[in-house]
Amino acid sequence: MVVAQVSPPVVADAGARFLAEVTSKTAGVSRLEMCIQCGSCGGSCPSASAMDHTPRAIFALIRAGKRDEVLRSNTPWMCLSCYHCVVRCPQEIEITDVMYAIKTIAEKEHAYPSNVGPDFGGVFIGQAKRFGRSWDLGLTARHYLRHFPLRLPGMTPMAFGLFRHGRIGLLPTRIRQRKQLHAILKRADELERAR
């Protein structure tokens, strides 16, 4: 009788494969495999009501190998990064980072439920990458024009307020060593694609 074998667990089914994929894409140690489905995360989440699945359900779907359903879920895009779930999780799962990991996979495959979230991030990061700094005005203008044109008139007092109070720059701030930053990010992109 062989009761113990010293070999890694075999990744057999789609669930295990997807779990491994998400885990490997998580920045730190996800501990996602430890989930006991208690719902601490779904109970803690301030935006749970807007999610189509609770985080807990997302983890169950990952284990079930429902890749498409997970990537097309709005759940990770509703995550506010408030970390309530992370500190309360009895299994110390890095839930927020798992949400980021799902988003990076979805982003790569353009498999998200709505392009509002990805676009906002894209615009924000596009500017940050270009200038080395984020730029509130450019971001807000482009973002609202694209997704909430109707909200824009309502927003005018706010934008005006920002100018009036000297809280927004008309032009983006730039860092000096943009070339260096771009070189770093280019190499990082290559490495990320190679993962």
């Binding site: 009788m1 062989v2 006991i36 489905q37 995360c41 749970a48 609770t54 807990r56 500190v87 009895p90």
Partner: protein, 705 residues
């Protein structure tokens, strides 16, 4: 070699009667353990190899057999000792934990000293952890060769015999300790029952009902408490604590501090008038779990055993200000004695049973549940008192204001348990306890009950039926660990309520439950002083702090220290039936010892070579069994052989190499390693350097030269 021939020995050389002086003659016995070993290791090949290749090491005969631990298997050993004049035995089989004793006994039956038999494990360390048959067979040979090298250096040892003092110390007067005490006392032996609180009874005395039968806890506990308090064989020492334990199995000397009660136990008749007249009211943090009051002179509860009260000195007006003495004035028997002092007593006992129980997880450590801030969040122990007819509300289940009956109650499971932020283990009793609370709330109020659980664990006789009963009674069960409890309302319906926010995981949605009262089923924790306690009694405890049993399954009430037993929650969360059973089991183990009157101690133990000891005192604090003492006059340390359990901690720690352990000398261990290395992974002898490899060999070679 087929199975039929398995028992046929592979002989190295014919038997030649008695061995020549100094000649070492070893018998090797390789066990199949059914297919446990033989399924992976070619046992016949191992035996054959030993007979042929270890002849120089003294192997005279080697056999393999299906079950070496069976009678025929053992007979090979006993018979061969006579037939071949063997003076060393090596059995390659399972872990020594299991059958070392079996084969030592067989060796002794054959007329050899049992310690000249060595058991090496080719099951746990080989066949069970490998699949490659060829490699596992080579490894078995290596392990066997190590055993052969080692056994050559084994010495005959003789066990030490000690008398067993028939008196027993039981520490902790909860239900486990009481049950152990009564078993021993009824069997006719003296028991000292030491309890730190003013009365015995423990946590069980705080409860109203017990699951699943809903017996009244007091009704079933009080008779046992009374018997323990009045039994002629029991010396009850409440308001007392064990300070020091010295000695060894059969002969412990225990120092107990009997704290000053300021009430003469012989004079007091327990009338209770002093408690009535005492002007100082104090929150009772212990028995009433902080939910009720007691006086500065008090017995924790009406049925307390003994009935003699104690004066809580820090809170007593007389001790604080120098005047009052109301209790003294009204005492009819002149039992009050403000001059009393702590007494330090010495007890001589043969065995010790530790039944010190548990602490409740401190729910303040989970601020998201608001305990301590939100008045109507209660802990399980608070609720026990709340629902108890002898409790602060006379059994009325009401909110913290003392009057309002709740219309809705939430019960939360797993508070501080199954949670890596706090305690990673399941506290075992909380599910059933929560179900009991659900029933008690129903019994006392009309409230709607919401019960929040992760997994419902109702493992026990009639436990799941109890769950079903609560379902019938209309308890509403929501599967989900509550995320937070708050009083911040979002809607008018939530105003003035406690809102419990949770994901209903079966629905997959976040829900908010406005309720009037929350009961946190807090988990069980080791006592805050568990680690010091373990050190004091020379037992070990896990990282959490639960006492470690000698074997969790096969010896659950013994510890690694001879003569010290554990019962009840001290070794982990348990319900009442299990605690009672453990108390009785520990008593049975002690009775066995007492009946034997004498006991043999394993001769595997450490000793200090006084000549080499420099008195650096590094070993002094290390002994888990307190067996090491320091002789100030000679300036050397010494090991008490009766207390030593042969663990080897001091042997490893001694920087001067002045402590050695019988059966585990450096020489033996190095010889075993040498034997293990004798065979390479390919089954060939490894290349050996030209250097002498052991101290022993160095001398031998030098001598030869």
């Amino acid at each position: 070699m087929t199975a039929e021939h398995n028992h046929k020995p592979v002989e190295g050389e014919p038997a030649a009667g008695l061995p020549a002086a100094g000649e070492i003659r070893i018998g090797v016995y390789v066990c199949h353990c059914g297919s446990n070993i033989a399924g992976v290791v070619d046992v016949a090949e191992v035996a054959k190899w030993a007979a042929e290749n270890l002849r120089d090491q003294g192997v005279v005969v080697a056999r393999d057999y299906k079950f070496m631990c069976s009678s025929p298997g053992q007979e090979f050993v006993t018979d061969d000792i006579k037939k071949y004049g063997l003076n060393r035995i090596v059995v390659a089989a399972c872990s020594p934990h299991l059958h070392e004793n079996t084969f030592r006994t067989a060796t002794a039956r054959g007329g050899l000293n049992p310690y000249l038999c060595e058991l090496v494990s080719i099951r746990e360390q080989d066949s069970w952890v490998h699949t490659d048959k060829a490699a596992a067979t080579v490894k078995a040979k290596a392990i066997l060769a190590g055993g052969v090298e080692r056994v050559r250096r084994n010495e005959p040892l003789s066990p030490m015999t000690v008398d067993i003092n028939p008196a027993t110390l039981v520490v902790g007067g909860g239900i486990a300790g009481i049950s152990a005490t009564l078993e021993l006392a009824d069997a006719g032996f003296k028991v000292y029952l030491v309890e730190k609180d003013p009365s015995i009874g423990g946590h069980m005395a705080q409860f109203d009902k017990t699951f699943p039968t809903l017996d009244c806890a007091a009704c079933i506990l009080t008779p046992k408490m009374l018997t323990a308090g009045t039994h002629p064989n029991v010396e009850l020492m409440t308001w007392s604590e064990v300070e020091k334990v010295e000695g060894y199995v059969g002969n412990f000397t225990v120092t107990v501090r009997k704290k000053a009660r300021y009430v003469n136990e012989d004079l007091c008749n327990g009338c209770g008038v002093c408690q009535e007249k005492c002007p100082k009211k104090v929150i009772d943090e212990v028995f009433e779990a902080g939910l009720g009051y007691r006086k500065a002179i008090y017995t924790p509860f009406a049925q307390a055993v003994p009935r003699t009260p104690v004066i809580d000195r820090p809170n007593c007006t007389y001790f604080e200000k120098g005047t009052c003495k109301a209790c003294e004035k009204f005492c009819e028997t002149n039992a009050i004695d403000f001059t009393q002092e702590d007494q330090v007593l010495t007890l001589e006992v043969g065995n010790i049973i530790i039944a010190t129980g548990y602490d409740l997880f401190d729910a303040r450590k989970m601020p998201q549940y608001g305990y301590g801030h939100l008045p109507n969040v209660f802990t399980s122990l608070e609720f026990e008192r709340l629902s108890n007819s002898a409790g602060p509300t006379n059994g009325a289940v009401v909110l913290r204001d003392g009057v309002t009956e709740p219309k809705s109650v939430a019960i939360v499971h797993c508070v501080g348990s199954r949670d890596r932020n706090h305690n990673n283990y399941c506290s075992a009793i909380c599910c059933m306890q929560s179900l009991k609370f659900a029933h008690l709330v129903k019994e006392h109020t009309d409230a709607t009950i919401y019960d929040f659980y992760i997994d419902m664990r109702t493992v026990g006789k009639a436990y799941d039926e109890f769950y079903q009963r609560i379902l019938e009674e209309g308890g509403i069960f929501i599967r989900g660990k509550p995320a937070e409890i708050t009083d911040v309302a979002r809607t008018p319906e939530e105003e003035g309520k406690l809102i419990l926010q949770v994901e209903d995981t079966l629905v997959g949605q976040q829900r908010r439950f406005p309720v009037d009262m929350v009961i946190l089923s807090a988990g069980l924790e080791p006592r805050a002083d568990a680690k010091e306690l373990a050190t004091r009694f020379g037992i070990s405890c896990s990282f959490d702090g639960w006492a470690i049993e000698k074997h969790p399954k096969l010896d659950p009430v013994a510890t690694m220290t001879e003569g010290v037993f554990v019962a009840g929650c001290v070794s982990g969360p348990k319900d009442i039936p299990a605690s009672v059973a453990q108390g009785a089991a520990a008593a049975a183990r002690v009775l066995g010892r007492i009946q034997q009157k004498k006991m043999n101690l394993e001769p595997i133990r450490a000793s200090v070579d006084a000549e080499h000891c420099s008195g650096c005192r590094i070993c002094n604090t290390l002994c888990p069994y307190n067996a090491i003492s320091f002789d100030d006059v000679k300036g050397v340390s010494a090991v008490n052989p009766a207390m030593c359990q042969g663990c080897g901690t001091c042997v490893a720690a001694c920087p001067a190499g002045a402590i050695s352990g019988t059966g585990f000398s450096d020489e033996q261990v190095l010889a075993q390693i040498e034997g293990l290395l004798r065979i390479g992974a390919d089954g060939l002898r490894p290349h050996r350097s030209g250097f002498p490899t052991t101290h022993h060999e160095a001398i031998e070679e030098a001598v030869r030269a």
